[in-house]
């Protein structure tokens, strides 16, 4: 036993005497006051057991936590399901955008009309550059992500023969009118692209989406558009190999219809005639 814990003879004698001192105890009302304070400090809902020992329900806080966790899980699952549901729709929309973005005017396949066709009036030739310039000016004042969409939309709305589209026409006229109205010395003013027509397609309205999302959509669309003709060409070749020439011819016709800019491979050229 250590020095501190050893009780020598004197200390033992003192301890014996001390033990004979009056053993005062707290009065009953003091006991009741303390116990009441303890009962009040412990909320009834928090008591796991009662004085009789019966087990009560778990803490209210724990029940709240459980309910909160369940609700959070439901929200998470619903969100994931919604995201999954959005994926196919986004892919379909990407294909549609690809068709509109990548479909050039029927230049190579049709061969019936061209911007450089000799039948185009001479004064109409600068219309396309005017469109490009107007679009470029608009792009400089709009978000970068909208540039490609606006450009392709403008190109698409321009007639294949090279006549200026109504929008560009109005823009050009508006610009000239403004130049006429401008006071002398004000210097040349840039033509302002008019607001989009009321009958603007839904895609333009959809172009309000964030630029990043648009870029991703365009990228996905280009990927899908590049892979699809090759896949169908492979199918047509397989049809030919299996002797189904009529079906192959029909499939090639559909392919050319769906992808007007598609260049028919040399081995399938007889089918295209």
């Amino acid at each position: 036993m250590s020095e501190e814990h050893s009780i020598d003879k004197d200390e033992r004698e003192l301890a014996r005497l001390y033990g004979k001192l009056p053993r005062a105890v707290p009065p009953a009302e003091l006991d009741e006051a303390v116990l009441r304070r303890a009962r009040e400090a412990l909320p009834a809902g928090d008591a796991a057991t009662t004085a009789s020992g019966k087990v009560r329900a778990p803490r209210r806080g724990l029940r709240w936590a459980g309910a909160l966790a369940a609700v959070a899980s439901l929200v998470l699952v619903a969100n994931l399901a919604w995201q999954q549901r959005q994926l196919p729709a986004r892919a379909v929309r990407s294909e549609a955008v690809t068709d509109k973005v990548q479909t050039p005017p029927p230049l190579a396949v049709g061969g019936t009309s061209s911007v450089t066709d000799a039948s185009v009036p001479a004064q109409a030739a600068p219309a396309a550059p005017a469109v490009d310039e107007a679009v470029a000016r608009k792009a400089s004042t709009t978000k970068p992500g909208r540039v490609a969409m606006a450009y392709n939309q403008a190109r698409k709305s321009a007639p294949a023969a090279g006549y200026p589209a109504p929008a560009q026409d109005r823009a050009a006229r508006g610009a000239s009118e403004e130049e006429e109205k401008a006071p002398p010395g004000a210097g040349p003013r840039l033509a302002v692209l008019p607001p989009p027509p009321a009958e603007a397609p839904q895609e333009l309205a959809a172009s309000a989406a964030p630029p990043v999302e648009l870029q991703q959509t365009l990228q996905a669309a280009s990927t899908v558009g590049a892979a699809e003709p090759q896949r169908r060409v492979a199918t047509i070749r397989r049809m030919l190999r299996d002797g189904h020439e009529a079906a192959a011819r029909k499939a090639l016709a559909e392919l050319r219809q769906d992808f007007p800019g598609f260049v028919v491979p040399r081995d399938l050229a007889p089918l295209a005639k």
């Binding site: 004197d10 200390e11 003192l14 301890a15 001192l21 006051a33 116990l35 412990l42 796991a48 057991t49």
Partner: protein, 206 residues
């Protein structure tokens, strides 16, 4: 109010604070009861209270030597322990933690007001206790005188030595635990206890 010879508050700082239990000690049954009560077991507290109340009350009463003040400090000690239940960590014996709270309140009380009626409670208690001892005149008188001298010797101790002595005799604390309760180092606690024993032996010698 507090002097080097008789004050309690001279050796403790931060008497208002509920002591934090950060000492690395194994848990005891009282600590388990306290934890069970904090966790929601309402039946644990009466058991814990019954185990601790008498020794705590006597320690406070013999320290302040004033019944009303002792009851006030006793109730406040439990009130602070209840209020600080969420901060309780079973690092030390529960009784040590409780005594720390009580000791801090005692120091506060001595700083506020020195007891004016020191000792009369014990004089009355010892005198009433002596009434039952008249059946054995010589032995009873001797025991009564010894207890009275002991009580007077305890009262005559400096505050810090008295607390150390009471913690040792009433609560059976070790030197380390006395140091923890009073907020001093082990050597200081050991020195106070040694001086207290020596002083009491001197005062009790006829």
């Amino acid at each position: 109010m507090v002097s080097a010879t008789g004050g309690i508050g001279a050796y403790v700082d931060g008497a208002d604070a509920v002591p934090s239990v950060a000492m690395d000690r194994p848990t005891d049954d009282d600590a388990a009861l306290m934890l069970a009560w904090v966790a929601g077991d309402a039946a644990s507290f009466p058991v814990l209270y019954a185990r601790q109340k008498d020794r705590l009350y006597r320690f406070i009463l013999r320290s302040v030597r004033h019944r009303e003040l002792a009851e006030e400090i006793f109730q406040e000690t439990w009130g602070r322990a209840i209020a600080a239940r969420d901060r309780y960590h079973p690092g030390a014996r529960f009784s040590t933690w409780l005594l720390q709270i009580a000791h801090n309140l005692i120091v506060d009380a001595f700083r506020r007001q020195r007891p004016e009626s020191g000792g009369e409670v014990y004089d009355a208690a010892v005198a009433s206790h002596a009434g039952n001892e008249r059946d054995q005149p010589e032995q009873t008188l001797s025991d009564f005188q010894q207890r009275r001298r002991l009580q007077q010797a305890i009262d005559a101790l400096p505050g810090d030595q008295r607390v150390a002595f009471l913690l040792r005799m009433e609560n059976e604390l070790s030197i380390e635990e006395i140091g923890e309760v009073t907020g001093v180092g082990r050597e200081t606690a050991k020195s106070r206890l040694r001086y207290a024993m020596h002083r009491i032996r001197e005062l009790m010698t006829p």
